[in-house]
Amino acid sequence: MKKVINNPEDVVREMLEGMTLAYPEQVRNLEDTTVLVRKDAPVAGKVAIVSGGGSGHEPAHAGYIGRGMLDAAVAGEMFTSPTPDQVIEAIRAVDSGQGVFLVIKNYTGDVMNFEMAREMAEAEGISVEQVVVNDDVAVEDSSFTTGRRGIAGTVFVHKIAGAKAAAGGSLKEVKEAAEKVVANTRSMGVALSPCTIPGAGKPNFQLEDDEMEVGIGIHGEPGTKREKIAPADDIAEELLQKVLEDSVDFDKSEVAVMVNGLGATPESELFIVNRYIHSKLREKSINVTHTFVGEYMTSLEMAGFSITLMKVDEEIKQLLDAEAVAPAFHR
């Protein structure tokens, strides 16, 4: 394990210090917490958006704090959901009286910790609503299981919920917009190499030189199957097929595309994937209105990528185009 760190236990704290020093005009760290909030929080008259989760996904989530996106991001330990006491600090700090909207990725830990914080906040008289993002089609959806995971599509939820709130949307309207995104967003990822949690010292799995792990999440966990590595177009095709076949009907629709690097994949390779996705969608008469290529939701130093399709309508397109000024997202 080779990492540019000091002590593994200090990684999250030192990272948050480094972030706060990097963006002193945009964010501030709530004292003695792992919460970063907008410098000017609470923003009067606006529903506040709070997201967060385990660390190791940078620039998620703190990179999305800013006008038109998040009001706060709560950082857990590496790949570990933050605790309710941290989430409640975030909620308290950003609520302007208009209520707080939580964007939660669908992991048991995240859901439980955020919901406990929500219960506490509601007991304090703060209105809280939430959405649980579950865009990863690698995992079958089922009411008997944990269901699909939340991965890179979460960034679209940040953008749309943030824009709706910035436009003066009520807590209910923000929730509706976010739910529309969740209902229309599907993703899938592949890994060419594993990653290592600083404290664990070794990766969760090993891959041979000619192998890839398909249906990977964003926590270094094994994927749904292992395959021989293939040309970029074939890998992209496999993921795209799964995304298109899932429960959203993308037929003849308009979509926003995200090609998301997991950490160690050169941007050039992401563009090669983007090229394929575009040409394939054109063939299928699916019209791409917005494209995002880069590292939006990473998994430490994992090599690989995910693709996300969000079906858009007029409202979503307008909200996508709305201003956003965050360290890791500009519009």
Binding site: G54, G76, E77, M78, F79, T80, S81, P82, T83, P84, D85, Q86, Y107, T108, G109, M112, N113, M116, A138, V139, E140, F144, T145, T146, R149, I197, G199, A200, K202, P203, N204, F205, G217, H219, G220, E221, P222, T224
Partner: protein, 207 residues
């Protein structure tokens, strides 16, 4: 018939911590196979702090020990196991309240309460390859009343933990692996086993 004192409750937390610290890597390895590889780190961080807290405080009641334990676990672990272990200790503390002495029957009911709280929080039932698979038979065993002894407790918990190996996960991260989750022991069940092993130890010393 066993009784639990506040002092023993503290020892329980201490012994659990000792077991978790010495098996930290093993717990992480179990979680690497079918989860995200942080369970050892999470439990070690949480119980380290819990033991520090309860060892340095004075308690009149078992409920008081559990309340502090719950608060620390809830605010230090995170992930899936934090709210679950936090809920477990919180429910026990709520049930036991200020009871000056805790009988075996009290304790059995407290564990039953803990189990119910965890099931509700995690929306999991027995057989889904989670720590519930250990808590459930342990709760049943304690309720049983007769023949409750340390050796038997360890046996029940251990068997339940081993039993998770053959099941396919439907809750928690291991569920994403679907059939690939089979053949691996659930990490949370293992940390729960340590918890009950530590409890058995406390009982044995108390005899």
């Amino acid at each position: 018939m066993m009784v639990m004192t506040a002092e023993q409750a503290v020892t329980w937390v201490e012994k659990t911590n000792a077991l978790i610290q010495s098996n930290k890597e093993y717990l992480t390895e179990l979680d690497q196979a079918i989860g995200d590889g942080d369970h050892g780190l999470n439990m070690s961080r949480g119980f380290q702090e819990a033991e520090a807290k309860v060892s340095s405080s004075e308690y009149e009641t078992v409920g008081g020990v559990f309340k502090d334990t719950a608060t620390v676990l809830m605010s230090k672990i995170g992930g899936a196991s934090g709210p679950l272990y936090g809920t477990a200790f919180l429910k026990m503390s709520m049930f036991l309240r200020d009871k000056p002495s805790v009988t075996q029957a009290d304790f059995a009911e407290a564990v039953e309460e803990a189990l119910n709280g965890m099931k509700q929080r995690g929306k999991a039932e027995q057989g889904e390859k989670t720590m519930i698979d250990v808590w459930h038979p342990v709760a049943d065993f304690l309720k049983n009343g007769q023949n409750v002894n340390a050796g038997k407790l360890v046996e029940v918990a251990e068997q339940a933990m081993e039993g998770t190996k053959d099941t396919v996960a439907t809750k928690g991260r291991a569920a994403y692996l679907q059939d690939r989750s089979k053949g691996h022991i659930d990490p949370g069940s293992t940390s729960s086993f340590y918890l009950f092993q530590a409890l058995a130890d406390v009982w044995e010393e108390g005899e």
